[in-house]
Subunit: 356 residues, 2 copies
DNA sequence: ATCTAGATTGTTATCGATATCATCTTGGCC
DNA sequence: GGCCAAGATGATATCGATAACAATCTAGAT
């Protein structure tokens, strides 16, 4: 796999790395290092004339500011840390994008990590992040190891938990009730006449949002007097498209008269729908299927998929906004809770016969 | 949207942030700061006894190592920077995951940025990254502004360009020829009897990999004597699922007898297939469709989608491995090129009638 | 008993920027 | 003309760890 035929030796000779410092730029221009430092900042008082000369020198010499030195003396790292369960999941990468966008032009940079839905990995990552002395940290969910909580509380920086409404928030929260959202979906579909509800989710509580959705489903189906829901657990969360396909087969084998199946996410819903079609079943005529999260796939899929539209990007933006507030306000204000919106999006995959 | 009813003031009182330093831990244990510093490292020579006592103190006090201070004096930031066009695209987030995984237990941390497929944004990000003094940097593609190139060359750190084979590599390369990969797909489909080829891609050269795939398509169709390909450009890259659907409508309106349509990515291919089904056309019987990238969706979709399987995760792992090599070897070796594998995956979306 | 290599620990200087305070200009105002 | 405020610039200490070297100690060899 490696092509060694042509050992091109490019510019990267050792020692080529001229470590240029601010002091050298200063000498070149004939000012003090402090003035060069000031020239790099918007607010500082440097004459336009001097700043211009300095910036020309910076260009000419190819100097690049060293923030690691600066953050030590200013005691501001310029980092915001964020942990998401997975970056391959577009819901969370939308949130990450929201954070990055909100941080633009604030001089803050995002340090991103993914926990793989594991609290232990989250704990390790939190420690790794705190070693960089971030000015704030954004987490996904409210379920953390006790050591993680202790580290966060001791860090003395604003913390935002997202995507859920934790029972005991550490500090700020930007999220919504996954339980309520799923309940709303159940009620909406019930009001359309569906009676026999199935549910597809993962096998463990690793994915706390998944568990909350499941309990929202179960609780609401029972409240509506529709008996216990038909639940299939399949695979370690997050469950994949393929597992969604396998799960619906199990579910329909066990309860062939199921009218509508709710899935923990659009990904599994998509897998379920495709598997049905592959087996010659019609969706929604033979079985209706809904997802959660409103991934891009759901509006494009044929049939398009009924789902809950979550404001993933907004969660990121607002979480970052909360942090910025807290950093401005001195962080003395204690935590607050920002509820983010969600809504049911009814699409073809749950259309009732003749309802067109 | 904000719930201010219950202003919970949690532990985050101002001044709560005890800035604990290594010196204080040292005093607590009765050793020097240097010994504490050593206790945090694997290789350093500290007696087990002392290390244990130090670590207990660290736990008891809740001390967290400060890497920003350490990296200044050791002149090693512990960062690797990586820039991808988008984190919402699972191909690239797979690459990011590969990098992160390869970096595990190396003491190096990933600084991730996304360029939005724009060279100017890449330039800004490169500068922002270099300010953190990363020990190496991984880029996507070989197309950079000249200032970006200059900064990179001057930085004196190993650089890896990925996902393409740049004509003038800066340093290391881990990638494959998008042109060749698409050519292979064309030849494979031609050998199955397809003659009238269409292509769907974006409107501009922003996405250089997209352009390369396009030229691979065009070149090969002509080489095979199948006339000029029928090309539809639709939308600013990266084109979405929805745009794929719109594009195939245009394409089939203009050239109704097209037998097979290749798309710049699986996402647009999926959109195209779904739009066809929505309009009552059969895939592949009425028109065959193929994509590029082997996204999860493509094996699940009904019909499953013919595509090029790219080793996205492996690109990340190998790019990181190249960097680690270079960091070990002192970086004196100059650049090398690592070719990553790809393969045609034939699926239902291009099955010839009766070929089952 | 003496010596030495290796292990363990300490001391001091330093990484490269910025905070802070001091100094020097400059222009406006009475 | 003299005084003062605001603006521009400089000097120095410092952020919190680690590199480099020095000092001390231990165990085994002679």
């Amino acid at each position: 796999m490696k092509n060694e035929d042509e050992p091109r030796d490019k510019r990267l000779k050792p020692g080529d790395a001229q470590k240029l410092t601010m002091a050298e730029v200063a000498k070149y221009v004939g000012v003090s290092a402090m003035t060069v430092s000031r020239a790099f900042r918007q607010d500082a008082s440097v004459s336009e004339e001097t700043r211009k000369r300095i910036m020309e020198a910076v260009d000419a010499l190819g100097y690049v500011l060293d923030l690691s030195a600066g953050s030590l003396s200013s005691r501001r790292s310029g980092f915001i840390a964020a942990l998401v369960p997975s970056i391959n999941n577009s819901n969370f990468s939308d949130t990450a994008r929201g954070i990055t966008d909100a941080l633009e032009n604030t001089g803050l940079q995002l340090l991103l990590g993914y926990t793989d839905y594991a609290a232990e990995k989250e704990e390790k990552l939190i420690e790794a992040m705190l070693r960089r002395r971030p000015e704030g940290i954004i987490l996904t969910g409210g379920s953390h190891t006790s050591r993680a909580r202790r580290m966060l509380e001791k860090a003395g920086i604003p913390v935002v938990e997202t995507w859920e409404l934790p029972e005991e928030p550490i500090n700020h929260v930007v999220g919504f009730s996954n339980t309520e959202a799923m309940a709303l979906l159940v009620r909406t579909l019930a009001s359309q006449g569906y009676r026999k509800f199935g549910y597809i989710g993962g096998t463990t509580a690793r994915d706390t949002r998944g568990s909350q959705r499941r309990s929202g489903f179960q609780k609401t189906v029972e409240e509506l007097g529709l008996g216990p829901g038909r639940m299939i657990s399949f695979g370690v969360p997050p469950i994949t498209m393929e597992q969604g396909g396998q799960a619906i087969v199990s579910l329909l084998e066990r309860w062939p008269d199921t009218e509508v199946v709710l899935c923990v996410s659009d990904l599994s819903a998509f897998g379920a729908i495709m598997e049905c079609k592959r087996r010659g079943m019609r969706v929604p005529e033979d079985v209706a299927i809904a997802g959660f999260g409103d991934y891009e796939i759901s509006s494009i899929c044929h049939p398009s998929i009924t789902t809950i539209d979550v404001d993933c990007y907004g969660i990121g933006r607002q979480a970052a906004a909360r942090l910025l507030d807290a950093l401005q306000g001195g962080g003395a204000a204690g935590g607050d809770i920002t509820l983010t919106s969600y809504k049911v999006v009814l699409r073809e995959s749950t259309e009732r016969a003749g309802s067109r």
